[in-house]
Structure formats: C-alpha cells, structure tokens
Amino acid sequence: MNRILRISLAALVALAVTPARAADPISDNVVKIGVLTDMTGFYSDLAGAGSVLAVKMAVDDFGGKVAGKPIEVISADHQNKADIASNTARKWFDENQVDVAVDMVNSGTAMAVMPVAAEKKRITLLSGPATTAITGEKCTPYNIHYTYNNWALANGTGREVVNAGGKTWFFVTADYVFGKSLEDDTAAVVKAAGGKVLGSVRHPQSSSDFSSYLLQAQASGAQVIGMANAGADTINTIKQAKEFGITPKQTLAGLLVFISDVHSLGLDIAKGMYLTTAFYWDLDDQTRAWAKRFQNHPDNKKKAMPTMVQAGLYSAVTHYLNAVKAVGTDAADPVIAKMKATPVNDFFARGGVIGPDGLHRHDMYLAQVKAPADSKYPWDYYKIVKKIPAAEAFPSVEAQKCPLAVKK
C-alpha cells in the first residue's frame, strides 16, 4: 500500500514538473529547421542540396544558437509528391520537434504542407513554389511566401516585354495547374498593357520534343513566345527554338527561368531572352559577397552560383531567426507577428515587407540574358534591364483576397 502511494505521488510530482510545450520559451530546448525540398527531381538543381546549404549557412552565420539554445537543421526529399510532403511534415512536427518547415519548391507540395503546419501551429517559409493562391484564397496564418509568385513573374516579364515593343504573344504552356495559372496571369498582364495574345498550345509535362509546339508558335507569327513551363521543359524549348530558326526572329520570354537553367543552356543558345528574377548574384557588392561565399562553400561541390530560390531561403531563415531572438521564443504566434512587423533589409531584399496575407513584397528585376561576347567572367549572364519596385512587382493585399487579411 505504502509503495503504491509513493509511486503515484512520484508520478504526480513528475507530471507537475514536466512543463507544457507552450510554457517553455524555446520548445524542446532546440530551434529545429526542416528543409523539405526536391533532392533528385526536376527542381533539384535550383533548390535541392543548394537550399539545404543556404539554410546551413544562415544558421552558421547566426552563430548556431538563438536565445541561448542550439539551432538544428534537418532535410528531406519531397520527391515532388504532395502526399510525401505532407506526411513528412506531419512526422517532423509530431515526432521530430521541427519548429519551421522551409523551401517546398513545387506548389503542390507547399499547398499540402501549409494546412498541416497551420493545424500544428508551426511556421512554413516558402521559397520556390509559385502559385499565387498560396497567399490568396489558400492562405494560412503561419505561412510566409518569400521569394516570388506567378503574379510577380507574369507581371515583370509580361508588362515589360510589351512595353519594349513585343505586342503579339503566343504561349507554350505546361499542361498542369502551375503552367495554366502562369499563362492566365501573363495573358491578363499582356492584354492590360495593350498587347494581344494570338494563341497557345499546351504540352504534357516532361515532353522532350517541343518541335511540334514550336512550329505552331512559329505559324502564329507572334513576336513573342511566352514559355509558361519550367525546368527541363523550358531548357528544351529554348534549345529547339534555336535549332528550328525561330529565335532570333521571334523573341522568347521565359516566365520562370533560373540562373541554373541559363548556365546549363549556355549563353549562345539563351542569349536575348527576357526573364524576371528576385535575385541576381552580380547586382551589387552585398549580393556578390554573399554569392561568392555560397559558391566557394566546401559543401557546394558543383561550385554553382545560388539561384533566387536558394538566396531567398537564406534571407527567409535569417529573418526568422532574428524574430525568434527578438521575441525570445519559438512559439509560432509571436514569431510570425514579429516577422510580419519587421521589414527585411539584407542582401536579398531592401525594405521588403511581409503582408498580413504572408506574401513578402520586395523589389524584382527584369533581366535579359547576355550574348557570349558581352559576358566578361564566369556566371556573367544577366543584364539587369530594370528594377521593378515592390509595389508594382507584387499584387496588393486587397487583390490577393486572403481571408485572413480581409478580416483585419
């Protein structure tokens, strides 16, 4: 009898001493960042291992500790599958004490993880997915869409190319949600700027041969061929457009092109193409300094320059850690409030503001790919044609129609 009493007393004491999660300023005595990205698929060169490296650099630069507790980074391959992404995130939040999930290149995976994170009150920082609805009707309270979205890409390239004289357009579009939404967004911008859309053709994702579609684009006689696709599809489109003598008679407009794509194509094939980017390594001293550290990092085996996804991720994680430091806890509510209240000022964004809808509004850049003769040193690929100020580059909070932002 006595023994049972003693044991139950001990159990009671233990229960009372074990603190509830919320009461601890830093949950589980560690701030854990989970990088959920595409390690082996279409997006692995523009995110993948480089994204993990960017996060590790951000943590190292922060000193490896925040509010006196260590910062840990783990990573996983979402394989571009929504179910794998959401299951991994659920496991991270439930069993692995992950406080913030980042990257999620590919909109499908991002939109699968966001509701899980919202339910578990953990933060998601997205760099890589593009769908505009992420901070529109699908917005969640603990999410930040950091680097770019379809609206910004469409708007930058669409409007500027029309203004530069490319009035008639034909779209070569990847036949899935991302491609269609990118085409729709761009077509609207082109029309609003006084241009005309002559037609479009939808191709299945990962087609290797684009000559049929390009012949249709050629037959349309449009001045500009807008490529509403990504990754290997864009690369093969550009390559074959040159082969069939379509460029330079007709101009290509890349709606989602990364520096890794241009590097892989070579300037001779990609030259003259317009694109919109959130980051270019050779913008100024600050970007150069950071990008060179990234390039020469021992973990960066291919010595590649960072893409906008990777640069944005570094900035996003640093902004998060600063917020944790400022509020002294890693609880989602105060941290996300602090992040939204603080403007972002670093090499990636100057005066970037995160809206109540979770969209990070910052300057974007319209760039044109240089001809080989104009490229003076390795990775000298872009001529920055124009800086697009944040207010023009991204949709307003009202236009996004995020239910969270409307209530306030």
Partner: protein
Amino acid sequence: MQALFGQLLVGLINGSFYALLSLGLAIIFGLLNVVNFAHGALYMTGAFVAWMGLQYLGIPYWAALLLSPLAVGLLGAVIERTMLRRLYALDHLYGLLLTFGLTLIIEGLFHHQFGNSGNGYPVPELLQGGSNLGFMFLPRYRAWVVVVSIAVCILSWFVIERTRLGAYLRAGTENPRLLQAFGVNVPMMLTLTYGFGVALAGFAGVMAAPIYQVSPAMGSNLIIVVFAVVVIGGMGSIFGSIVTGLGLGLVEGLTKYLYPPAASTVVFVIMALVLLVRPAGLFGRQR
C-alpha cells in the same frame, strides 16, 4: 495543310528515334528473352559518353558516333557476363528486375555527378543550319537523324534476318544445345548480342545529344514510350519495331497538332487497342 506537313515531318523525326531504340530492345528480347529495362539508362549513358568525350578529351561528334556505342556495348557485355547470364534460366521477371535496378543505379550515379539540368551538346559544324522546305524550316541535323536511323535499322534487320551470322543467332535462341554441338560458341554470341543491342541505344544517345539536353533523366522520359512501341510491334519482332516506331512517331506528331494534351497518352491508347485485338502485337507471333 502546310502546318500538317510540318507536324508529320517532325513526327517522322521522333519516330526514327523510337525505331532505333525499340530495335535494340526487340533484338535483346527476341534473341535473349530479356526485357531490358536498362535501355533508357544506356541511351543516356551513350549521350553522356559523347558529351564527356567532347568536354574533357576534345573528341568530336563524328568519332563519338563510333566510340560511344562501342563504350556502351562494352559496358553491356560486362553486364551480360557478370549478371544477366545467371538469369536466363529463370522467369523474365528477374531480368526485368535486375535491369530496372541497374537503371536506378546508373541514373543515380550520373545525377550525383552532373546534377539534373544537364548539359548542352553543340550540333556539329557540318550539320548546322537548315533549309526552308516551303511548309517548314528543316534543320539539317534532323534530316541527318532520319536518314542515319533508317539506314542503321535496315542494316540491323538485314544482318539478323538475311545473313549467316543472323541465322546462328536465331538458331541459338531456338536450340542453344544443338548449336553448341555444331561447334558454335553460344555464350559468346549471347554476350555479343546484348552488347550490340545496347550499343544501338548508345548510338541513339549520341544522335540525340545535340537535340535534347544531355541530362540523367533523358532516358526515362523516352523509355516508356519505346516499350509501348515494342509491345505494339510485337515483342521481339525486329521488323515490327522499326515500322511501329516510325508509325507511332507520325501518329504522335498528328496528335500534337490536332489535340496537344493527348500527345503523351495517344501511344498508350493505341497499345491498349492493339493488345485487345492482337495480343501478340501487330507483327508478333504467338509463342
């Protein structure tokens, strides 16, 4: 009408790739009874060998056209000698599993080394440019692909169906023991057959390098369609795979023009229909 001609010609170009790849598969299946899932990976290897040769050793396209299939054929011979040989007595499924595993390993290695975006391979100088046919601009390189592929296909068909060596090969699959009794080195012949089949894949890889980005995924994008071609043509029918390859290229080209979203499925719809009506394929014999 003009646009239609253009699409048909483009279809023919793609069809000649299908023919070249499915030919190798058909030879390997017809003579060795192995479903060679590694075909796509070896096609990719052929393209990469050409690219690496140019990049690191300065080997030009024309030499690569010979050296790269040789290298891939040699790799194939090693695979046959060390692994595939042990599976001949077992069910087809084991050969399929082995070659599928090899595909994952080969693609994984290239992915690890070269990343995912791939590398560009320049069109050889002699074949740059093109001519205007009135209804479309035909790049010279594409014309070259069609001519060479068809020539290689016909040559392979001739060797297997009309020469003494081909007769030995066919006899070796029907009754290897009897043939061996006549003093023919059957195991060696099987090694050479597999080597030749995959060398064709390597050859197609070099042909493809200047058109598509040389990337680790280039084989897996194509291989499923090529398998459908072999099934439609009749597993193991060499003539069937050549004709079907070209024909399906044309059908696909037509679909891309009439209803693009169906372009990736039309081949499989045809496959389902053919299997319903003729389970052995268009040119296949019931075994």
